[in-house]
């Protein structure tokens, strides 16, 4: 008996020693380089799926890729301006890089550029990058805009690339700001999704991969062939994958990590906890929180704007709701200053529109608007319809407020809004769904797509080129229906003036004309209230006091500019 039990243990032990020893024990060298700059550890809450930005479906990829594979001809700096990186200078009208008809762009590479494996980086690699990103079968998810407009590529010498466009393309700098592909170290363009390069890129960036321990860490060493002499200053970077927020902050406390992506604590608490070790820094992000209204009747089987919403169809109700929200308290107390103010979709970027709220916090005004609109106070403190525009008499002023689950700031905001609305006799019922339902497709019966909701609260964002997103969200041709399932005008908002402004912004090459057009849309949102903007999220990073040269960049990520970092 004893012997048999013992055998069981021995077998278990053998299994363990056989399997346990051999894991991912690839020893990483921690080579000490002559530059002697040390290694910075960066904390990631989850593992990126790839180091190829163009395949990235989530923001986490760029957090790592910026340090290695995303060095392109240009980049967007912390001021939002384009600057040349691998190019000698930006092609403009003044220097002749951009032709007078905007159809020809000439890029000149710096001299003596090399890939991280020592091979020369030439105009042929620029050509290859275009071949890949213009290939519809490449599997690229992002960064492909404008490549289909390039009709010819000429490379008269190793440094020069001359591009001809079929029509003027305002994003001609942006499209070359996310990295180049080496022809010799990748593969077929149509097979991009499966390149080995995606997990171990040969690059022109400051750091190169040395070890990827799945689920644990991704390590990089300095690229000896980086184009800026003497940079990067550091010997290496380690991205540690640490899912538990408390463990992340503990690592910062023990100086085991120097850069902390998206700390879970508010700045005041964080700085107090890590006093003398690290601080939290905030920069405006691109995620803009708003309450969307459904202007069309929900649950009537008709996704179009034909029938107005019985309650929200009356603009006075929307104005009353806008006046009932205490924006200041929400931003500064509830969310402890972790967010900035925002009144319209264009809250950041070159297209930013500083427009004041038309309906600020004013409870008296809100009550007055509802009284006028035919909503009288009921016995239970919730108003009921009595002579309202669309609602039958006796209808309670009760609306569902949909959001998505498991995102603390959103839940705090919802609860605060419910309190605010209760104060003016409006009942808001919180109904949170999984992320995948809120952002699901028309075919999946996502409530916002099929138009079966009252109010929806979520954060949206767009990048340096705003046209695609905003046309989709606000143009009346983009109301989602059976025949137009991908439309993004979930409000069912029809405003001819907005349609015209969006069309103008999409066809103009003149920046000021475009800004004016977008601001016209922004103003219409404020006037017409298809949605109410609440606040703009800020990106937050915890950065150790021992690190210098760190630059916060709305358009970059946590590892943007890592070549400039140094230990004090």
């Amino acid at each position: 008996m004893k012997i048999k039990l013992l055998t069981l243990f021995v077998i278990l032990g053998l299994v363990l020693s056989a399997c346990g020893g051999g894991g991912n024990a690839e020893a990483t060298e921690s080579a000490v380089s002559e530059v002697g700059g040390g290694t910075v550890t960066l904390i990631l809450p989850e593992e990126p799926t790839t180091l190829n930005f163009f395949l990235a479906d989530a923001a986490i990829v760029r957090q790592v890729a910026d340090a290695t594979s995303m060095t392109g001809l240009a980049t967007i700096d912390e001021n939002g301006d384009f600057v040349a990186v691998l190019a000698q200078e930006l092609p403009t009208l003044e220097n002749g890089g951009l032709s007078d008809d905007y159809l020809t762009v000439t890029w000149k590479l710096r001299e003596g550029l090399k890939w991280s494996d020592g091979e020369p980086l030439t105009s042929d690699d620029v050509r290859f990058t275009i071949e890949v990103l213009s290939n519809p079968d490449s599997g690229a998810l992002v960064g492909t805009s404008g490549f289909d407009l390039i009709t010819s590529v000429e490379t008269p010498d190793d440094l020069t690339t001359v591009l001809t466009y079929s029509e003027p393309y305002p994003g001609y700098l942006d499209q070359f700001s996310y990295g180049l592909f080496p022809r010799h170290a990748t593969g077929e363009p149509a097979d991009m999704a499966n390149w080995e390069w995606n997990r171990n890129p040969v690059t022109a960036g400051p750091f190169i991969l040395s070890n990827w321990a799945s689920g644990e860490s991704i390590s990089f060493t300095r690229n000896p062939n980086y184009y800026e002499a003497g940079k990067p200053y550091l010997d290496g970077l380690v991205f540690a994958i640490v899912p538990e927020p408390a463990a992340q902050s503990a690592m910062m406390l023990n100086s085991e990590a120097q850069v902390h992506l998206w700390p879970g604590e508010f700045k005041a608490d964080y700085d107090e906890f890590l006093k003398g070790k690290a601080q939290q820094y905030l920069i405006p992000g691109i995620w803009n929180m708003a309450i969307d209204f459904n202007l069309s009747a929900p649950f009537d089987g008709d996704p179009t704007a034909a029938t107005p919403h019985p309650i929200l169809g009356d603009i006075r109700v929307r104005q009353a709701i806008a006046s009932a929200i205490d924006y200041q308290t929400l931003q500064q107390d509830v969310l402890q200053g972790s967010v900035g103010d925002s009144t319209n979709p264009f809250a950041y970027g070159w297209y930013k529109c500083d427009l004041p709220r038309k309906f600020g916090y004013d409870v008296e005004k809100a009550n007055q608007l509802l009284d006028e609109a035919g909503w009288v106070m009921g016995d239970d403190g919730i108003r009921v319809a009595k002579g309202a525009m669309y609602a039958d008499d006796g209808t309670r002023l009760s609306l569902e407020l949909q959001g998505y689950t498991a995102f603390d700031p959103l839940q705090l905001t919802e609860e605060f809004i419910v309190e605010n609305l209760k104060a003016i006799g409006v009942e808001a019922r919180i109904q949170n769904y999984d992320f995948s339902i809120i952002f699901g497709s028309y075919e999946d019966n996502s409530p916002r797509a099929v138009g079966d909701y009252d109010m929806l609260i979520f954060d949206r964002g767009f990048t340096t080129e705003p046209q695609g997103y905003n046309f989709d969200a606000y143009h009346s041709s983009r109301i989602p229906t059976e025949s137009n399932p991908t439309g993004g005008n979930y409000f069912r908002w029809v405003n001819p003036q907005v349609d015209a402004a969006l069309e103008l912004a999409g066809s103009s090459f003149d920046t000021q004309t475009r800004i004016d057009a977008y601001c016209e849309v922004g103003q219409a949102v404020i006037d017409d209230l298809p949605q109410i903007y609440l606040y703009l999220f800020q990106d937050n990073y915890g950065i150790a006091d021992s690190l210098t040269g760190y630059t916060l960049n709305t358009w970059g990520s946590m590892s943007w500019g890592a070549q400039n970092w140094q230990f004090k």
Partner: protein, 324 residues
Amino acid sequence: MTTYAIRRVLQTIPILFIISVLLFIMVRSAPGGPLTAARRNPNISKEQIEAIEEKLGLNDPLPVQYGRWLGDMFKGDMGESIKFRRPVSEMINERIPNTLLLVGVSFLVTLLIAIPIGIWSARKPYSLFDYAVTTVTFIGQSIPVYWLGLGLIVIFYVTLKNPISGEPFFPVGGMNTRGKEGELLDTLWHLALPVTALSMGWVAWYSRFLRSSMLDILHEDYIRTARAKGMKEQLVHYKHALRNAILPLVTLIALDLPSLFAGALFVETIFSWPGMGRLFWDAAKGRDYPVLLGVVMITATLIIVCNILADLAYGWLDPRVKYE
């Protein structure tokens, strides 16, 4: 016994088939899909998403997709992760050794502590030792593992420091210190806290189980007989009582064995341990169907196999049990 074993193994085939169908339906009826995150990425157009769904075959009828997946599984191909574009088998192979190490060591530690405790508190029931152990095990059983894990980090990583080097006593997580990958001592050092967190509940559970099983048996007639004929207490306990008391424990162990492969999500998350639990959870969150199905099918298979092993071990350990 051999025919019984063969019959049981053959029975697993239809069971696994039914499990695979149910799993496929459950996984696919969860809301959303692998491209949900892409859907809210402002850089990705909806047309691109549709094109990729088409390319991945996600728009085909479910039975067609199931047939394709099952066909691949028969060929030993678990498919490719939608998110990582890597073979599922490769991703699972990376994680299994880590999980075996963490859960296996915890298991071993559990048994080494729980069995003596169980025996001792049964030998001297209602003694000071028994009461002390009972109290501690009840506490161990009631503490949620994530709370215990965080508590251990606060005590041994944040608060207490080695007075000589000023370094924390134990690391906050991960499997190795950078540059010391594969070094046994370093790995053991990293194992200390997660193993403690994981074993605490198990020790409580196993020792309680063994204690009550021992107590039951100590009241049996044949124990009284053994004592009556003047046998030493030592022998009564270890030869006669323990042998029978440990039988139900074998079943319990066999049923817990699959977690060696399934991993321990909470502990893996808190201590940044790259195990199967996190692979499963990440795949579930991202609706990475091939990875999700691969992990769950392996776990399901192991549960069935371990059940068979438990039954067979029972017959082996207890001569009274006969399989026809």
